[in-house]
Symmetry: D2
Subunit: 315 residues, 4 copies
């Protein structure tokens, strides 16, 4: 039994009123129906999995569904709900705020509220909104607000509308989620967004989508295509250096080695993806992760210490 | 200087008449314009890169552009052209045939011609045609023909139409190509196509797209989503075992380790992706690949011996 | 700070009366003078180093000094002293008995007492007595007694007399100790002693002396010299498989990898060599050991679980 | 079949007149009797083993046997014989001169002759002469002569007289050889000899004896014993940095990793130890060595390039 020391940055909350609203709009999560969720079930899973504290976030579709006019109010209610968990179990929960992105004014306002009054640990942004991906200049007002606050941004995958055109029967979490996160990461790097808003710390879900696997290819892309900004491999790696990664559903030694090649400063934090990753899946992931050969300090860093350097208030 | 022993399974030909036809249809390659190509330039790059023999293939868009009625004739002409290279330089070139997939009857007929009369070493299929991906039952007649011939199928990425809806400025080769190959690989596995046509050997371009990076996630996907066929991780790995991989544009130790975790039998072959990967890019890739720590026999296997086990006639 | 879970199999006691007797005989330890020792200092070091329980043993010269007629009585007194520590701190100490080897009858008798009445966890034998090394048929009566009791034998280095002829100024612990253990290990393997007394579990100090470094050479020695029993490399490795190793003063990744190559079943246990390895040395060793990349379960096995499989009564 | 590119620094010659002299004195090699030797057999083994060029040396006992008054003349004759091989097969043989060490004046004189007139690539010294080991100040006149010539010294094990007192039946090459080399290496480091004669390059046979396995222990020895010169671990590692190593009879990945930890500059060269390692043994060693995972350039360095940096005239 692991000692309960882990800080989990990829842990979902599903407030009952939120679940109802999603179903009422004919939407739902990538796995079809929501799994059972309650704070007590959350704590039970955490105890079983050595998780001392979990930073909650809303999964896709966030508040981007149904009536746009209601998104800001729903976001506020969800964020207040998350704060209530933190108040009730202050040693067990933190929160990434959901942001209503249909109106950027509303987004900035909710960021102010969540990071200010509510003292959330950061915000959760989706990798894409519509067909636009993080890194698009359209989102700059939000990025400016986050940069000003030295915010931690947890980048969670979504499903862009055109992905529904694919003639494939597989649920989004199997592949498209990963592609979504990957596109956001690449767009943040090559659009220069990370350079313009250097104080934001982006934490990429699921070991960076798939980006670490082909980071070499990215690093020489300007050599392949003269139309790209002629960044050197070193330039590109310097930008990649700023990302953080959670290890949710990505527990193998090989995957971690790809991440560590581009995240030399130890930018890996623990993530479980509960409850979409159910208890059985998390137990398998932990077994695999614990079997990875690593120095004792490296394991303690992923389990806890790296998260504390992102969120010193949790210490 | 490497000794010229390598067999390159990912090497493109661009017949002059083909390039004209693509441009005339307003199409082009993922990097915009075709690079200079001639058999002599090909041989020069091969000599510089230790490549004894290259198996040529047509890159995307293959013959899927312009007037569908002309696709079969264009495919025939391209395949004959490739055979001409093999006749003229029998020690230096082999060929993967292009297949006209708009009409499956035409596809089967061209497969018969290319693998029969022309004695090509295999065929090149794109990962997707329209919004359908390899593994779709629609392609079964082609798979049946290939299975009957114990064919080697080189799976090369394409760009499905809906990917153009993405509001992103990056050329397809940077990411979408990799997602395309990945979807084909996953669809071949989970649709059961590989089980139904077990005699086909699929060689996935670019280290499998991105699939090896998240093979663990794939292996537990049925635990996450009860709607999926309830294959065990061992079942899924047993299917993955059948894939082969080229290492074009994927030379790092970490990427190779991900591949080898799911390809225990040594199913990795050398690929360069010339000329879309130009000489400078290939030199960088070779430098990185040669710096990977591996047993001498493992290197010789990737460079040459594994390809000979796929293509014994080349010995 | 490590949690205090380790079981230390290489931990010395220096009873005050014993130290006086050694000095009185003009003898002493390999480092010249005895370091300060008391049970309280021992417990302090254990607490600092995450050591829950230590198995004590007498270092060289054991009771092989001075008047042979007094050796048996001194051994008895030392073993009773060790038992007293175990009684007083039953959760913190276990014991390997010292054996008076000048008279094998006395040796067998003390083994009976220590493993029977005193319930010591095993015995400590020196790698050599005089110019004879463990494995010499001369010691067979002792081996027979140990085999009958399924004993654990901790093999600690000594200094054979002829090593004093070496015209070298370095203290024995720097090299000769390691050669001594190595000779015992090789002699146990090639003399067939381990085959004849298969129930003894031998724990080799200091990562096996140096034997794991040249195990390959040992495995092909019969190919080099026809006068040797013509064991195959597999035969020799099968014999090596039975050894256990402590990691005292041997904390690097490279050294451990050599051991694990020949001890596939996880036969490595934790050792500190206190107080000859003083607190500063042990802190350095722990730092190095903790930086070795290993699965979580492998570390827990070395720290504790492997020792419990040798000494189930400690659980 | 390996391409014949290797430079072998550990390759013995056994001139017929020398073998007779050894037998006549009642001496012999560590394996009892000399194996068959001739230049033609040597070339045959080299061709089978990918060895382009071998640097010959006399094994133990060198010329330290029989009548001391004849040692210098025998050394001269052996060195002239080695030169004759080099003249006859200039692309296949180089030579390390044997040095008559009973009279240091004779030793210096023969060094002058061999490195001057004969242009040998270096000299072979034994790790010990009598009970003295390299590093002993007694040998300083020889070291001074070698330092002045920037000589390469191949350190080959011998058997010091007191080792015959060991009550063990195993031939010297099984263990005592390795201890002998190890003592020389440690003595060279801790005596300060390497500091005083910094221009000599010492190549240690058999992967350094056993020294790389316990280099960590050496590095903290001054912390254990206050009587030692209080060198820091960094000081000691800086001295170890100067050694070179051959990989004769030491082909495993684990052994090589120990060496590379203390020889970061790539100071490993190829060695076979023929004919004491016979063809079957060398084939096994090559199989194991070739299975070690290493970058292509690292393998080429061990096989050839590192030797060329020691012996640029061979290029």
């Amino acid at each position: 039994m692991p000692s309960p020391c882990r800080i989990d940055v990829h842990f979902h909350l599903i407030p009952p009123f939120y679940q109802e609203a999603v179903y009422a709009a004919g939407a739902g999560p990538a796995i079809g129906r929501y799994p059972d969720w309650s704070p007590e079930r959350a704590l039970e899973l955490m105890d079983q999995s050595g998780i001392a504290l979990a930073l909650t976030s809303l999964a896709q579709p966030g508040v981007q569904f149904g009536d746009p006019a209601k998104a800001a109010a729903l976001a506020r209610r969800c964020n207040d709900y998350a704060s209530e968990l933190c108040r009730r179990w202050p040693k067990r929960f933190g929160a990434f705020a959901v942001v209503p992105m249909w109106e950027l004014r509303e987004a900035v306002s909710e960021i102010d509220h969540a990071l200010g009054a509510l003292k959330h640990q950061g915000v959760c942004l989706f990798a894409s909104y519509g067909e636009k991906f993080l890194g698009d200049a359209y989102f700059d007002p939000v990025m400016a607000a986050l940069n000003e606050r030295d915010a931690v941004v947890f980048v969670h995958p979504a499903l862009h509308p055109s992905s529904r055109k694919l003639d494939l029967p597989w649920p989004g979490f199997m592949m498209e989620y990963l592609f979504d996160t990957t596109r956001a990461a690449v767009n943040l790097v090559f659009s220069g967004t990370m350079e313009r808003f250097p104080r934001i710390r982006f934490v990429l879900a699921h070991a960076g989508g798939l980006m670490p696997y082909f980071a070499w290819r990215l690093s020489i892309s300007p050599m392949i295509d003269a139309r790209l900004e002629q960044l050197s491999p070193a330039d590109i790696h310097a930008r990649l250096d700023h990302f953080w990664y959670d290890n949710a559903l990505s527990p193998t030694a090989e995957t971690l080695a790809c991440v560590e090649r581009i995240a030399p400063g130890g930018h890996v934090v623990f993530g479980s993806d509960w409850p979409f990753a159910n208890g059985r899946v998390i137990a398998e992931a932990l077994k695999t992760y614990q079997a990875v050969a690593m120095p004792q300090a490296a394991r303690e860093a992923i389990d806890r210490a790296n998260a504390l350097s992102l969120f010193p208030r949790l210490a």
